[in-house]
Symmetry: C2
Amino acid sequence: MEKFSRNMRISAISKMLTENPNKVINLNTFTEKFNAAKSTVSEDILVIKDTLSRLNLGRVETVAGAAGGVKYVCGISEEDRREFAEQLCTILREEDRIIPGNYIYMTDIMYNPEIISKAGLILATAFNDRVVDYIVTVETKGIPLAYEVAKMLGVQLVIVRRDNKVTEGTTVSINYVTGSSKRIQTMSLSRKALKSGSSCIFIDDFMKAGGTALGIVNMLKEFDSKLVGIGVMIEDVETPKKLIEDYISIVKFKGVSEEGIAVVSPSK
Amino acid sequence: MEKFSRNMRISAISKMLTENPNKVINLNTFTEKFNAAKSTVSEDILVIKDTLSRLNLGRVETVAGAAGGVKYVCGISEEDRREFAEQLCTILREEDRIIPGNYIYMTDIMYNPEIISKAGLILATAFNDRVVDYIVTVETKGIPLAYEVAKMLGVQLVIVRRDNKVTEGTTVSINYVTGSSKRIQTMSLSRKALKSGSSCIFIDDFMKAGGTALGIVNMLKEFDSKLVGIGVMIEDVETPKKLIEDYISIVKFKGVSEEGIAVVSPSK
């Protein structure tokens, strides 16, 4: 059977761990794949552990017991987080981003995998220490970001819809009032989507008064589940958050300048 | 300045390449990060190149010129692709998946990052050799899958919506007829979403007669752009594809058995 050098095993294990965040991989997977002893693979993993911690690229955790093994937990340095938020602000300040109604056009940003994977890493890192069963979002613009956070935390994504679809089976629909424009909207979720008694984190692209987040809290009550965190890409600080208090954001939006440029700054 | 061993550099470079599919990374990024000579980093990359190719985990390509460097191109072995398709079939055959109207409930599958990252890898690998500017999908269920394919190919995701949103600016709306139920539906896309003259791949969760795909072809014409490929998770082979011919799928769906179980098999 084929043998691999330490270098090669380290390269492959680094890749496999990176691709499976928060998933426990049994050491046997590696010993079988590389035809190597457990002690050898353990030494490989020590090198990877050390590398990630020295370069601030997340960490590798050892999980004891029969179902044990190692798992990669994502992470980002404070410096990289800050640099990303600054870059995002520069993009948001581009001249043609303000569209009629003083909205900021950010669809291209929310659908750019390079940006969204970094933003997802930042939000996932912030929630790394909480016990989470699901990442919840409302369609449509926040879906890629919520998916990235779910992937990084190794949990299922749940998407609340604005309409009812026959392909969803039995659904629960609730009405909620948007906090800023006071309009009544409907959101619905398949009965099969959530197990009762779950802990969820709500991820979205933009937060104004927090009406949607409050709608999610009420929706989760219908599933005997609770919200344990909220993370958004951009929060509008011009609109007071009367409806929701505890959340994190990457960028703060303070309206549009007289020159028609978005006024933004990194959060914290 | 800190020095890193070959093992550590290989671990970190493997991780960085894996996290940035199809993005050219200049060797200077690595020489600066690790305080190492270009020749040293080149040797590290040769080890990674060799590892990925021996284990069938994609490949590392060298891009010459001033803007040159190395990039990771995703890939999956035929064996792993087949194994994944078989596993997906097993999940689709679960007893409670058939819901009223003989629809197959697959929302949980389409929002499961572990499944979707593998499915995205399979579809991206199939389109690796084409020049692609955008991955296009129609909201909602196919978004995570389309996002994964976009990320793997290193391009922007475009999501066509079923409604008009004020936050999208000027939009183009077209009507199209669904191929199976012959209903008229509307889809709309922001003028800012696509550059004219682009080549796009359409990704979706499920394909029946191909009406939505044909709608996308017509939508792209409005942007002087063209469809160069179609990839879906599941295709319904009971409904003849009158509207569209060239596409790939992971699983074939042949209706529901008398016992109320989905009849499915891996494609190809």
